[in-house]
């Protein structure tokens, strides 16, 4: 999470001379411009290179539309699954003391360190035609690999830690005094969760969901392994972008890419808003605590 930003000038001995400051700021902005701003802008410029008409035509084409639908479907299934898991894991880890906790936290983070391609492969080994359960699945006419369930599984894997890793430190910092008070006053477990815990963690939860959603809609490597790239059926938007690009249909590729780039911008804006809200809440809490004393 980004740190709070202050613009207060520092005392003379703890900062650099003006030319050095300007030089360093200039270098940093140059780097940001070259590596972030230009690539982002180029997506929209390339998409609109041949005008709005072709841009819109590339988006409403049937294969593009079905890719958009599939991407939305995959996100709608995988994000809530990881949301429920994240809350359950954070409740167990943050509110109780038990052995093996740090091992559990490491295991939850594991999908972040596994290459997306490996993430896709492991499901092929389980559910593919050559896999452990492949023969049984084909006997019962269930398709997982090269079909939507495989795409969902791979997406669930790569977005697995997002909500949990946002909630665990937050709930650990909040402690369980408020929940204990609610229990002592006669609330049931669920009442305590819905009325005490959930309002306390809602911004952290939203933050995790925003990040998980961005990754779910944009995942390429893992999905590429399990999807089979069947047009109109198992192509998500990122895979559709790849196919169009490899066919030298650059306007189409960048048009679809521009939707994903817009999604990224919305994600960044939402993320900044949530950060700003939770920073303000923390500040209010501090003030209230001071007033109470």
């Amino acid at each position: 999470m980004a740190g709070a930003i202050n613009n207060t000038p520092r005392s003379v001995v703890t900062t650099e001379s003006r030319p050095v400051r300007y030089l360093l700021t200039g270098l940093a902005l140059l780097f940001v411009g070259l590596f972030l701003v230009i690539p982002l802008l180029s997506v929209f410029v390339e998409a609109l290179r041949q005008g709005w008409k072709l841009y819109l035509a590339a988006l409403v084409e049937p294969d593009a539309l079905s890719a958009i639908k599939l991407t939305l479907l995959v996100a709608v299934i995988s994000v809530p699954l990881n949301l429920v898991f994240g809350v359950a894991a954070a409740w167990a880890i943050a509110k109780f003391e038990f052995r093996g906790k740090s091992l559990l936290i490491t295991l939850i983070d594991l999908p972040f360190s596994v290459s997306p391609v490996v993430a896709g492969l492991i499901y092929v080994l389980l559910f593919g035609a050559q896999g452990w359960w492949g023969p049984w699945l084909s006997d019962n006419d269930v398709k997982v690999i090269f079909a939507v369930p495989g795409i969902v599984l791979a997406t669930v894997f790569v977005t697995f830690p997002f909500v949990a890793r946002e909630l665990i430190p937050l709930m650990e910092a909040q402690g369980s005094d408020e929940e204990q008070a609610a229990m002592v006053l006669g609330a049931s477990g669920w009442q305590t969760f819905w009325r005490v815990t959930l309002p306390n963690i809602k911004w952290g939860l939203l933050y995790g969901v925003i990040l998980a959603n961005a990754r779910a809609m944009g995942e390429f490597g893992a999905v590429s392994v399990v999807s089979g790239h069947i047009r109109g059926l198992t192509n998500t938007v990122p895979l559709h972008v790849e196919i169009l690009y490899n066919e030298y249909n650059f306007v189409g590729a960048f048009a679809c890419a521009s939707i994903l780039a817009l999604l990224a911008l919305v994600t960044l804006a939402a993320k900044s808003y949530v950060e700003w809200r939770s920073a303000r809440l923390a500040l209010e809490d501090q003030r209230n605590a001071l007033n109470d004393q």
Binding site: N7, L36, F85, W91, V117, V118, L125, G218, L260, K271
Partner: protein, 277 residues
């Protein structure tokens, strides 16, 4: 010691049980399947798959490019974090938010954008071409793509530490006659070191496994610009499941080793900062 300490809160069994079940189904079982599947191979066959000269060449490209990209981001990330925390300038909030773009932008989008920019007739490529610098379809292109993808890591690990650094330390050093450069080198940098290394390791770990952003710009020439994840894909496309599994086991081993190092670095970082308080 009991497995769990007593608590008045309910739901421990349910939440932990669900966590373990879901973790097993989604993560542990499939990863186990990978390792078990690789045991179908005899040692010589396994070795032949992972030590094939073409595969060895991909390790060199992958680890070399990842190390270069992470090193570039070590310096650029420190610079960005420094400027964002310490110097006032207009548009700072926007730049701060933009740093996370590589996390939010799908890798395939980054891949085609960079490949187009650095192509010989692209916005940036046209200026580099006369200088004899080829980026697209060379290993340098892989470094550029990995630098983009791993850009936020060092910034986001160093930024909070720099934010919490006490002015008093620098003022004390200055009052004792240290120059600004000495203060940076002897006071600030040692405090930032664990965070810098953590950011570097996170960036490196991410870069090693990266696929989507790289394949468009790399050109994917055997022995020159093929990355290891691509080898897994091409083995799969040839229905060589065992070969793909063997390489994947090697990559998984590297991931585990890096995860172990990163945990150690974070522990060191927490200890060093904790002691100062």
């Amino acid at each position: 010691m009991a497995f769990k300490q007593h608590s008045v809160l309910p739901g421990f069994g349910l939440s932990l049980g669900y966590t373990l079940l879901y973790l097993s189904i989604i993560v542990l079982l499939p990863l186990t399947a990978l390792v078990v599947k690789s045991s179908d191979l005899t040692w010589p066959a396994f070795w032949a798959a992972v030590a094939d000269p073409r595969v060895i060449a991909t390790y060199k490209v992958t680890f070399g490019a990842s190390a270069l990209a992470a090193t570039l981001n070590l310096f650029a990330g420190l610079l960005l974090a420094w400027v964002l925390v310490r110097y006032p300038f207009p548009g700072k909030r926007l730049i701060d938010a933009l740093v996370d773009l590589p996390f939010a932008l799908p890798t395939a989008v980054a891949g085609i954008a960079l490949a187009t920019l650095y192509a010989p007739n692209g916005w940036l490529g046209q200026y580099l071409e006369p200088l004899g610098i080829k980026v697209a379809f060379t290993p340098l292109g892989i470094v550029v793509a990995l630098t983009f993808v791993t850009l936020p890591f060092v910034v986001r690990t160093v930024q909070p530490v720099l934010q919490d650094l006490e002015h008093e330390l620098e003022e004390a050093a200055a009052s004792l006659g240290a120059t600004r450069w000495q203060i940076f080198w002897k006071v600030i940098l040692p405090m930032l070191l664990p965070a810098l290394l953590t950011g570097f390791a996170l960036a490196f770990a991410r870069a090693v496994g990266e696929y989507g952003s790289v394949i468009f710009i790399a050109g994917n020439m055997p022995f020159v610009s093929e990355i290891t994840p691509l080898m897994i894909i091409s083995k799969l496309e040839q229905y060589d499941y065992l070969g793909a599994t063997a390489i994947a086991v090697v990559m998984l081993g590297v991931s585990f080793a890096l995860l172990f190092i990163i945990n150690g670095l974070q522990w060191w970082s927490a200890k060093r900062l904790g002691r100062r308080k």
